[in-house]
């Protein structure tokens, strides 16, 4: 089975054909925005990082940035830096070269200020756009798809409708040889036994318990009851009582197949099938990690409703109940609430989500794309000075 996507020079397959302007440090953020604004058809992100990091945090930020820029949906990237920062464009460029990603570099201190940087940046981005315009969609086997899964603004129906339906869609993709990523480690606490029971090996099983224990230890270290953060106040209002309850519903979105591998945040999977990526439950950060891991489409379930999108990857929104589907219709792509109404089943909505994944991968715009949602975040590990 095929989707129609963009074959990249490095062999990967994209579902979108973006030219990205990426500041590697906060000091270059506004200049990057100005370059992108001057050249329609480009996308830009900003973030507060790039300097003052230490140790494993530096590695974590570099991996997040470079993986995000190397996502197959990005045809080319302009890295914008200041010049004296820790994570210069050259640090990221070295990683992009290893990925085989097309990039250009501009530094504000080298060019001599904002105006000169915009002038140079415009020329470089126009060149990248011209190259990107040559790419055409071609049939690509869906086994090359990596689907990121996310749930945000959960309610008790997340675990009854949208998450099991998304899990069913994941099972269908895995049966076709594709890859799905389950993340949000805090929302595996209390459901480890379910995932560990499906681990492909003893080492995968061990890793599942390691990542959830490390996350739970954060609550121990802080000396707080995790409830209030997880589940969030909105989750509790929606009927979720404990973290365990939320987790048992959350992990259903990964489906029912064997867990092939556990990768770190923003790391690329080495195996196909269901893969767990260790990472926080923060919706935008989770998306960034999965995009850096190579996800070309994200499916996002929501019960309380969220408009969350991404600058480079289409995000398909699945409502857990008909009420929120109707209430926030301009943000919702699929209604899994009809499962409760008795008119559809988990299997039939799973099939619809699967079909939607293939259509969106082939170019159909999601609601988040139509509305222009481009939320982006990288998280810090708290090792900055």
């Amino acid at each position: 089975m095929n989707f129609t996507g963009y074959r990249r020079a490095n062999g990967t397959a994209g579902t979108r054909n973006h030219v990205l302007v990426f500041p590697t440090v906060i000091c270059a953020a506004a200049t990057a925005e100005m370059i992108s604004r001057a050249v329609p058809g480009t996308v830009v992100v900003t973030h507060p990082h790039g300097c003052g990091h230490m140790g494993i945090e530096t590695e974590h930020i570099v991996r997040s940035m470079s993986g995000f820029c190397a996502n197959p949906n990005v045809a080319g990237v302009l890295l914008v830096g200041l010049g004296c920062e820790l994570i210069t464009p050259n640090v990221i460029a070295e990683k992009l070269a290893a990925y085989g990603q097309r990039y250009e570099v501009v530094n504000i201190q080298d060019e001599g200020g904002t105006t000169a940087t915009i002038k140079k940046g415009r020329l470089l981005v126009e060149k990248l756009l011209k190259e990107a315009a040559k790419a055409v969609r071609e049939p690509i086997d869906i086994s090359e798809l990596i689907i990121g899964t996310n749930c945000g603004g959960s309610d008790t129906f997340s675990g009854l409708t949208a998450n099991p339906a998304l899990g069913n869609a994941c099972d269908r993709l895995v049966a076709e040889g594709g890859t799905t990523i389950l993340s949000e480690t805090p929302e595996m606490i209390g459901a480890e036994q379910v995932l560990a029971g499906r681990a492909a090996s003893e080492s995968v099983k061990k890793r599942i318990y390691e990542i959830t224990s490390a996350t739970e230890a954060l609550a121990f270290k802080a000396g707080v009851d995790i409830r209030g953060s997880e589940p969030s106040p909105g989750n509790i209002e929606g009927g979720l009582t404990t973290l365990e309850e939320k987790s048992l519903g959350a992990v259903l979105k990964g489906g029912t197949t064997e867990v092939k591998e556990v990768v770190g945040f923003a790391e690329r999977p080495s195996k196909r099938g269901l893969v767990i990526m260790d990472g926080p439950a923060h919706d935008a950060v989770c998306n960034t990690g999965m995009i850096a891991s190579g996800a070309q489409v994200i499916v996002f379930t929501t019960g309380r409703g969220t408009p969350m999108g991404s600058p480079t990857v289409p995000v398909i929104k699945v409502a857990t109940n008909s009420r929120i589907y109707r209430h926030m219709k301009d943000n919702m792509d699929i209604n899994a609430g009809v499962i409760l109404d008795g008119t559809e089943t988990i299997e039939s909505i799973g099939e619809r989500i699967f079909e939607e994944i293939v259509e969106v991968a082939s170019g159909k715009a999601t609601k988040a794309e139509i509305l222009g949602h481009h939320e982006f975040a990288i998280h810090s590990l708290g090792l900055s000075v």
Partner: protein, 96 residues
């Protein structure tokens, strides 16, 4: 008849309301092929849970056939089950 509440696993001692349910309402809940009848003691908001049987203090709350927490007080059949009478057992840094 439209479904009023769902039970996900035969071991579960709570059900989830799939519509707003009223105090005093008598409802039918399907567990596998069997129906059980519950008189609700409280109004149950859309998406919230109620007890399928009497639950003792300290007893585990079961949903999806798995432990989701434990009762902090006695919970009667038909009572609203939420943060006022259930606590989580994981991520309890306040207990360390």
């Amino acid at each position: 008849m439209a479904i009023e509440a769902l039970v996900l696993h035969p071991k579960d001692n709570v059900a989830t309301a799939v519509r707003q349910l009223e105090s005093g309402q008598s409802i039918t809940v399907k567990i596998g092929v069997n129906n059980i009848y519950i008189d609700l003691i409280h109004a149950i908001p859309f998406g919230h849970k109620f007890a399928l049987r009497d639950i003792e203090p300290g007893e585990k709350i079961i949903k999806y056939g798995e432990v989701i927490g434990q009762a902090t007080t006695r919970i009667n059949k038909g009572e609203h089950v939420h943060i006022h009478n259930v606590e989580g057992l994981r991520g309890r840094g306040d207990r360390q």
